[in-house]
């Protein structure tokens, strides 16, 4: 219920002026739960909100400035550490949105730095980061081997002075997933940034966002990822041949299904404009929409069975059945339980 209110206010910030204290409280809790509080605070900037709300939003805007500064600094540090390798480094997700000055970066919570490098350069990149002060996080040998064998990224590294995480990707989906995106093409066509490094081309950015949202993971926190997609389309959707190029690129990466569904969901939830041909075939979209809007006014996710179904789906997408059974059995014995409190 509050996730729906969050959507309404993000799209029409003026709506917030009609809220009473209870609704404000629910809205802020949902926004924090979805890690969209920074985006909400940026959207509501300048509006005449009640003083208790204004103080909370001012704090969030201060955090936005710091997130932005820290994210750019992490980018700077990683590029400096990797500079001697003369290796393409493509920024992904939040850091890319901020470094490229995109609408999707406004108020975006960042957390980790995600980069994409060519797979054949992975060992050199890893060595350079380790010698520049990043260290392994995962103490678990099963996880470490699992990452190196099957994942699309190295096990996460954390910097010992700054306590910030870096995820080094060599492609955008786990190697066990059915689609095999063309990571080499993504890197080859990446757009260089003035300060060094590069970001994905807009259609690749969208393919990555769609893959991340719908072809990998259980969609927890997915509303923010869908908001990214909405903002990317809002900013670039009017460009000539945008939809044709997006369609072609999604096909090249084997991501036609996820890309189409992402556009349909963005249209459904955020009213994103898209050509009619993109909005056909909405089977099961209602379930995805319900999954994305489970956050209630306490900041809690409701509908445990729906969430569990998406959790199971995420593993189904990620690996073949026998491997999945083995993986879940190993994780269960280690005490991991899928749907948290």
């Amino acid at each position: 219920m509050s996730a729906a209110l969050l959507v309404a206010v993000l799209l029409e910030p003026g709506e917030a002026l009609r809220l009473d204290a209870r609704h404000w409280t629910g809205l802020l809790a949902a926004a924090r739960g979805e890690r969209l509080i920074g985006t909400l605070a940026a959207k509501l900037d300048g509006l005449d909100v009640p003083p208790d709300v204004a103080a909370i939003l001012a704090d969030a805007r201060l955090d936005n400035l710091r997130e932005r500064r820290q994210a750019l600094w992490e980018v700077d540090r990683a590029l400096a550490a990797l500079a001697p390798l003369d290796c393409p480094v493509v920024l992904l997700k939040g850091s890319a949105f901020i470094a490229a000055g995109l609408l999707a970066g406004q108020g975006r919570a960042i957390g980790d730095l995600d980069i994409l490098v060519p797979r054949e350069r992975l060992d050199e990149v890893e060595a350079a980061l380790l010698s520049a002060g990043w260290e392994w996080v995962k103490p678990d040998p099963y996880d470490d081997i699992y990452y190196r064998r099957w994942m699309h990224e190295l096990p996460p590294l954390i910097h010992h002075d700054r306590d910030r995480m870096i995820d080094v990707h060599h492609t955008i989906l786990p190697l066990t997933a059915r689609p095999r995106p063309d990571a080499a093409a993504m890197i080859a066509d990446a757009v260089p940034l003035e300060g060094g490094g590069a970001v994905l081309r807009i259609d690749d950015m969208l393919c990555h966002a769609a893959a991340h949202l719908l072809a990998d993971g259980d969609m927890a926190g997915g509303l923010r990822n869908l908001w990214d997609i909405h903002c990317l389309i809002l900013e670039h959707g009017e460009a000539p041949n945008f939809w044709l190029a997006l369609d072609r690129r999604a096909r090249q990466h084997g991501l036609t299904g996820p890309m189409r569904r992402a556009v349909r969901l963005s249209h459904r939830i955020f009213g994103t404009e898209a050509p009619a041909a993109w909005l056909k075939g909405a089977v099961f979209d209602a379930l995805f929409e319900a999954r994305l809007l489970t956050r209630n006014d306490w900041g809690l996710e409701e509908r445990p069975f729906l969430r569990l179904a998406f959790y199971i789906r995420s593993h189904w997408l990620r690996m073949p059945p026998l491997m999945l059974a083995r993986h879940l059995w190993t994780k269960w014995r280690k005490g991991y339980r899928p749907v948290g409190p």
């Binding site: 009473d20 204290a21 209870r22 409280t25 009640p50 208790d52 306490w298």
Partner: protein, 289 residues
């Protein structure tokens, strides 16, 4: 959440939701003297949730997971009989991770004549106990856990939540105090035995009233009595370690702490018993005048 309560402590307001009634009843009793926060009119700064670790753990072997706007995925579950402690930890967590309007110092503080002593140190240094006892001896208790340093004015603002007394400190600090001001004894929690003490009425009535920091103490309980001045550089470094939001505040935090350590004298006090430390504090205070 099945049950909820609104609480205001110093400048911060909280909404605490719980799957169980008992922890909130305990809060309502101990926070009865605090100004009420009406959640239908006021938007609280933070939400705290006391939720079951698994859906069925509300009724079967109840187990509390502390969550809220800010939470730690690895937080240890807590027994329902420690629910009051869970609520307090939940509120502390929101402050530690989410408060941005002051530099948050992990320190206790007391005030007299508009001037404050800030007492900081590792867990077990005795800062809570000292503040609790000073609060019963003519000082206004400002807080036993967090001191809020205003980056604009340089003043310290109170956060007089319930005082959390641990282990041997419980008997020492609650001697002669009426039972209405005491929470239940929670034995064998992850932090040892815990008992909460309601601050005196003046501490609650004046909980929005700041004070000028006049003395910074680094007490250490245990060793033989000793006293040495702490230079501003060392005080600065130790305060950055004692602050949970120093990094988040960026330049404002740096300026506030720099001003603090250059204006406020700092002293490390080792003390073997309370008589020694109170005599030392009286002596230091008389020189500040």
């Amino acid at each position: 959440m099945r049950h909820e309560i609104g609480l205001g402590i110093g400048p911060a307001t909280f909404r605490i939701g719980s799957a169980w009634r008992a922890p909130l009843d305990a809060l309502a009793r101990l926070y009865a003297a605090y100004p009420p926060v009406d959640l239908s009119r006021r938007v609280p700064d933070f939400t705290v949730r006391l939720q079951p670790t698994r859906p069925w753990r509300r009724l079967i072997r109840p187990s509390i997971f502390i969550a809220g706007d800010h939470w730690l995925p690895e937080a240890a579950p807590m027994a329902l009989e420690h629910g009051l402690l869970a609520a307090e930890m939940g509120m502390n967590l929101q402050m530690a991770l989410g408060w941005r309007r002051h530099v948050l110092l992990h320190a206790s503080s007391v005030e007299r004549d508009g001037k404050a002593i800030i007492i900081t140190g590792e867990s077990g240094s005795g800062k809570s106990t000292l503040a609790a006892m000073l609060g019963e001896r003519g000082w206004r208790l400002m807080g036993d856990e967090f001191a809020l340093l205003d980056p604009v004015s340089g003043a310290v603002f109170p956060f007089p939540r319930l005082i959390s007394l641990k282990n041997q400190a419980i008997d020492i600090a609650t001697a002669g105090i009426a039972s209405e001001r005491l929470g239940p004894l929670m034995a064998a929690t992850a932090k040892g035995d815990i008992r909460h003490l309601v601050p005196r009425a003046d501490a609650i009535a004046r909980m929005k009233e700041p004070a000028t920091p006049a003395l910074l103490l680094f007490p250490q309980y245990g060793p033989a009595a000793d006293r040495r001045p702490v230079d501003p550089g060392e005080a600065f470094v130790r305060l950055t370690q004692a602050s949970t939001n120093y990094v988040a505040l960026g330049e404002a935090g740096f300026r506030a702490l720099t001003r603090f350590v250059t204006q406020v004298p700092a002293v490390a006090l080792d003390y073997p018993d309370s008589a020694t430390v109170f005599a030392a504090i009286d002596d230091l205070w008389s020189r500040i005048g």
